[in-house]
């Protein structure tokens, strides 16, 4: 504690310089947190992959935007090892203003609960039964419910961006989950695929057929048999495990992540140079004081610790400020980046902790050279006399 006072007094010696340096570092950590939050959100889909008893079937060459005929549904159920099949489409829907957009997963309620029983179990039984019965029912993520203060049974109006249609829906139930990985589902909706399909002009197309298998050992045989079966068909298919599928669906994010990481590194390195310069300048101005401290008994290690302590103090306080503002922006204001992406941007605990860790490392790295130089100050040369 006694050293903290000394450190703080030194930092307040030139308030403007300290504030500007802290502001720069805070901005860098804010940008870092922002970028890492985007990376984290992009990676979330892959992380959500579960066991290997589910397979996704998509059109082989063009990816998920190109669709399969609905007729494959019945055919896929005939393969050995397949216990159930459910079709899945995606829609971007808006509530009122266009900035309030969400991902709607278009599902067949009956088979969805058979293939995705874990997700379906997060919905109250009576609510899911309503979803099964009501053609225009919708299951809404809890976060959306809270955001719009909706209740189960409310009638809501949504608009689909892709198909330019209006949806009149009744809220059947709420998707609620306490797991961290459930963030996405709580910001999404489940809509009856058949209801939606009948409203659009080009029905009968499916983005992904999800297959539930009887056991993990069936994965390879089913992939081989389904792939071979459709090789000569009207639409060739690609069959992948759930995790592989999700990785493929988000493979474009790898490049984005790489770019983001590179930008983060450059920002942090720039801040490192700025902080090194500031601390060095401060040390040069205080050479007489450092010489005095060494004369009265401060060891080089004391000087080293005090200077590095100052650097850590600056970067840690600035880091807390930067991360706090990013948290406020994303977590409290529900800020969303207009990238056309479907991801939920929330500052994860791991990102915040990493940011704080980087602040400390930034402080150490920026302080170490000026600290070493300060600890080597020649007392006689500096103080002249004595």
């Amino acid at each position: 504690m006694k050293w903290i006072l000394l450190i703080v007094k030194n930092l307040l010696r030139n308030k403007k310089r300290t504030l500007l340096t802290m502001g720069s570092v805070a901005l860098a950590l804010f940008i870092f947190t922002l970028l890492q939050t985007v990376v984290s959100a992009l990676a979330m889909d892959v992380a959500l992959g579960t066991g290997e008893t589910k397979l996704g079937v998509i059109e082989r060459y063009s990816g998920p935007r190109h669709q399969l005929p609905e007729g494959y549904w019945g055919q896929l159920q005939q393969f050995d090892g397949v216990t159930s099949v459910t079709p899945t489409n995606f829609a971007i829907v808006t509530v009122g203003m266009e900035s309030n957009y969400f991902v709607a997963i278009l599902v067949d309620p009956v088979t969805y609960q058979q293939v995705f029983e874990s997700s379906a179990s997060k919905i109250a039984i009576e609510q899911y039964e309503d979803f099964l019965k009501r053609r225009n029912g919708v299951i809404v993520g809890e976060k959306i419910m809270n955001q719009f203060k909706w209740k189960v049974g409310d009638a809501i109006q949504l608009s689909s961006i892709q198909h330019n249609i209006d949806l009149s829906l009744i809220i059947s139930g709420v998707y609620k989950d306490t797991r961290e990985s459930s963030e996405q589902m709580e910001t999404r909706m489940l809509i009856n695929w058949r209801y939606y399909d009948n409203l659009i002009g080009d029905p009968g197309k499916v983005s992904v057929f999800w297959l539930r298998l009887d056991k993990p050992a069936s994965v390879l045989p089913v992939i081989q048999s389904v792939t071979n079966y459709y090789r000569m068909g009207p639409v060739d298919v690609s069959v992948e495990t759930e995790s592989s599928m999700l990785s493929r669906l988000t493979s474009y994010t790898a490049t984005i992540q790489l770019i983001i990481q590179a930008v983060s590194s450059v920002v942090l390195f720039s801040m490192l140079l700025v902080t090194v310069n500031t601390i060095s300048l401060s040390m040069r101005e205080r050479r007489k004081e450092i010489a005095l401290m060494k004369a009265i008994g401060y060891k080089p290690g004391h000087i080293l610790s005090l200077v590095i302590g100052e650097a850590i103090f600056i970067s840690l306080v600035a880091g807390v400020i930067g991360i706090f503002f990013a948290y406020m922006l994303f977590n409290l204001r529900g800020f969303s980046l207009p990238l056309g992406l479907t991801h939920e941007f929330v500052v994860q605990q791991t990102v915040a902790i990493t940011g704080l860790g980087i602040s400390v490392v930034l402080g150490i790295l920026s302080g170490i050279v000026p600290a070493f130089n300060a600890s080597r100050v020649n007392v006689i040369n500096i103080l002249h006399s004595l």
Binding site: N10, G297, L383, S385, L386
Partner: protein, 244 residues
């Protein structure tokens, strides 16, 4: 009686290319506990170099500096720092107070290195500031104090750790007559009443009169070592030349 500080055959040679400059030549000096020694001599005579070596800020080319049976010559920097902290109190001509710290905090600075509680530090700092008569200026910053007051804070900082030796380098060099007298009276108190050992470098013959012993350095040689007995008006200087 074993001297508090025994300086044995100290020589200091600076090398500038191939040119050797002999700053000190086999200087011997014994300092007993309770001594008040003034080092005088013309500029370049080696006074400051001798003071640097005595205080462990510089190392001699040859010779030994013995204190409490330990030769400090050859100690590594961290060991010398610890030795200085425990044994030496410094008083500078330029005061060298830290401008962002109050008088209290400046005096507290060397105590931070001890494992003492805040309340213990407070007792010691207040006592040190009371000795120099500035216990009513504890919260003042150096810029709010006169030159004489700043030097008194510097003296309080030097005595707060209760060092064995106080080393003062031209302590009155920047002070007016009134402040000089105050500081010299303080030195008399520290030495006479509190028994502190003081080694002072000065150009001022008047200041030197407060010391019990006056040593003269000329061209690196200690040319006189005469014990001056009280009363001061009866002291005899063997080299009363121009000390600049």
């Amino acid at each position: 009686m074993e001297p508090l500080l025994d300086i044995i055959q100290i020589s200091k040679i600076y090398l500038n290319g191939e040119i050797e400059t002999h700053v000190l030549e086999e200087v011997n000096l014994k300092v007993n506990s309770g001594d008040f020694i003034t080092l005088m001599g013309p500029s370049g005579s080696g006074k400051s170099t001798l003071l640097n070596i005595i205080s462990g800020l510089d190392s001699p080319t040859s010779g030994a500096v013995i204190m409490n049976s330990m030769n400090i010559v050859g100690l590594r920097e961290p060991e010398l720092s610890a030795w200085r902290h425990e044994n030496i109190g410094f008083i500078f001509q330029q005061y060298h107070l830290i401008p962002i710290l109050t008088a209290y905090e400046n005096v507290e600075l060397p105590l931070l290195l001890f494992d003492t509680s805040r309340s213990e530090r407070r007792i010691l700092v207040e006592a040190a500031l009371a000795i120099v008569g500035l216990d009513n200026r504890m919260t003042y910053y150096p810029r709010q104090l006169s030159g004489g007051q700043q030097q008194r804070v510097c003296i309080a900082r030097a005595v707060v750790t209760d060092p064995l030796i106080i080393i003062a380098d031209e302590p009155t060099g920047n002070l007016d007559y009134g402040s000089t007298e105050e500081v010299l009276e303080l030195f008399d108190t520290l030495n006479g009443d509190l028994g502190k050992t003081i080694i002072m470098v000065t150009h001022d013959p008047h200041a030197s009169q407060h010391a019990k012993t006056v040593k003269f350095l000329e061209k690196g040689l200690l040319i006189d070592d005469k014990q001056i007995n009280i009363p001061r008006e009866d002291r005899v200087y063997s080299s009363p030349g121009n000390f600049g």
